[in-house]
Amino acid sequence: MDWDVILRNLPFLLMGLQTTFKLAIVAVAGAFPLGILLGLCRLSSKWWLYYPASAYVHLIRSVPLILVIFWFFFLMPIITGRPVGSFTSAAIAFIIFEAAYFAEIVRAGIQSISKGQVMAGLSTGLSYISTMRHIVLPQAIRNMIPVLVTQVIVLFQDTSLAYVIGVREFLRWTSLVDAREFRSIELYATAAVVYFIICFVGSTITRRLEKKGGRLR
């Protein structure tokens, strides 16, 4: 055992961790709004909104993330006509992929609010949009928060998959350092501990939120 290897290569590992966080933040920032939009479309009574959104969600959810990453890795140069960086194509893949999961959370959250709330809102003279904005969404979002945080943790773990197209995130740096130092046990154990701490803190927060908030119906 030679734990010095971690200290010696700390700058590289931290650089990787920074990219991991950057990728996660970009993915959440893009995927969450897209997910809300898709979730609302999935609840729409207009067929031209409902069917495309449902098809999108089901299609993406039945394909592994790694394949979506490869889609965009191969597609982006064809679409844009010039090579894009692996970070950009990974970020786009994450946004497209995770949006389908956020959409289902948003849909379930809105559906957890009883119909009576909508009727009460409408009968007091609010328009449909104000009912959504002031009555349904505030309650729905409160119900969604624990699941949303869980999904963000999953997304954070998923960023390690950007490894496959060579994005230099935390896991890629770990394996690059390993290729030079031959210290697999120490390096991968460190990677595991780092991911564990971050995700465990996240899941503890989720449990707190679940206990405190309770569910509104």
Binding site: V63, P64, L65, I66, F70, W71, Q157, F196, F200
Partner: protein, 226 residues
């Protein structure tokens, strides 16, 4: 005659048995872990919780690398040599270990929440009708919990199929790996990836269809349909 179609079929076959065997192991481990978390022994409960938290909070890819790169190094040199000489495909075994243990933590969590979803009154009612502890589990708790657990387990079963694609990183020749191999031979990666996506979509839709049918057969009357 090009060999690429054959490669894809080989890949599909590997994907199916890798995730199939992994699922059986995950289910057995998951039941053990899930029941240990509702066991009346604090030490066992702690062990079960620790198992779930550790294996759920480390990305699967990191676990895969640990099983493939780090675990053999932890063994004594003679054992390592024996493994490399006598186990025909170490990478397949590593992928199987990582996949099944990762999935078992998730299955264990579903089983725990299924067992806990049964209200205390059910247990008390069963005991007060004169059933023994074992009979209570055999005739009341397990039949009820099993039906509640089946829908979320469908999701985990689909999950292990999709997650088996990560095995490509340690060169297990499953279907996603084959797409990359075809890409390196022909530069037609996009077509191969689209083909593999089609395979996953068909597998997932088939599982969903059969499980949907199963769920409607075993659903508990009186509960909200999900």
């Amino acid at each position: 005659m090009h060999p690429y179609g054959g490669w894809m079929l080989q890949g599909i076959f590997t994907t199916i048995h890798l995730s199939g065997i992994g699922w059986i192991i995950a289910l057995i481990l998951g039941v053990v872990v899930g029941t240990s978390r509702v066991f009346p022994l604090a030490f066992l409960r702690f062990l079960g919780t620790a198992y779930v938290e550790v294996f759920r909070n480390i990305p699967l890819l990191v676990q895969l690398f640990i099983w493939y790169f780090a675990v053999p190094l932890m063994l004594p040199p003679s054992a390592r040599l024996w493994i490399y000489e006598n186990v025909p495909n170490v990478e397949y075994m590593a992928a199987l270990a990582a996949l099944s243990i990762y999935t078992s933590a998730r299955v264990g969590e579903q089983i725990r929440s299924g067992l806990q979803s049964i209200s205390k009154e059910q247990y008390q009612a069963a005991l007060s009708t004169g059933l023994s502890q074992i009979q209570m589990y055999r005739y009341v708790v397990i039949p009820y919990a099993a039906r509640i657990i089946i829908p979320p387990l469908t999701g985990e079963f689909i999950g292990i199929f999709k997650n088996s694609s990560l095995a490509l990183t340690i060169a297990v020749s499953e279907v996603t790996f084959m797409t990359q191999r075809i890409d390196s031979y022909t530069f037609h990666g996009l077509e191969a990836v689209m083909g593999a996506s089609g395979v996953y979509i068909i597998i997932c839709l088939t599982i969903m269809f059969f499980m949907g049918f199963m769920e409607s057969r075993v659903s508990v009357p009186g509960l909200i349909k999900r």
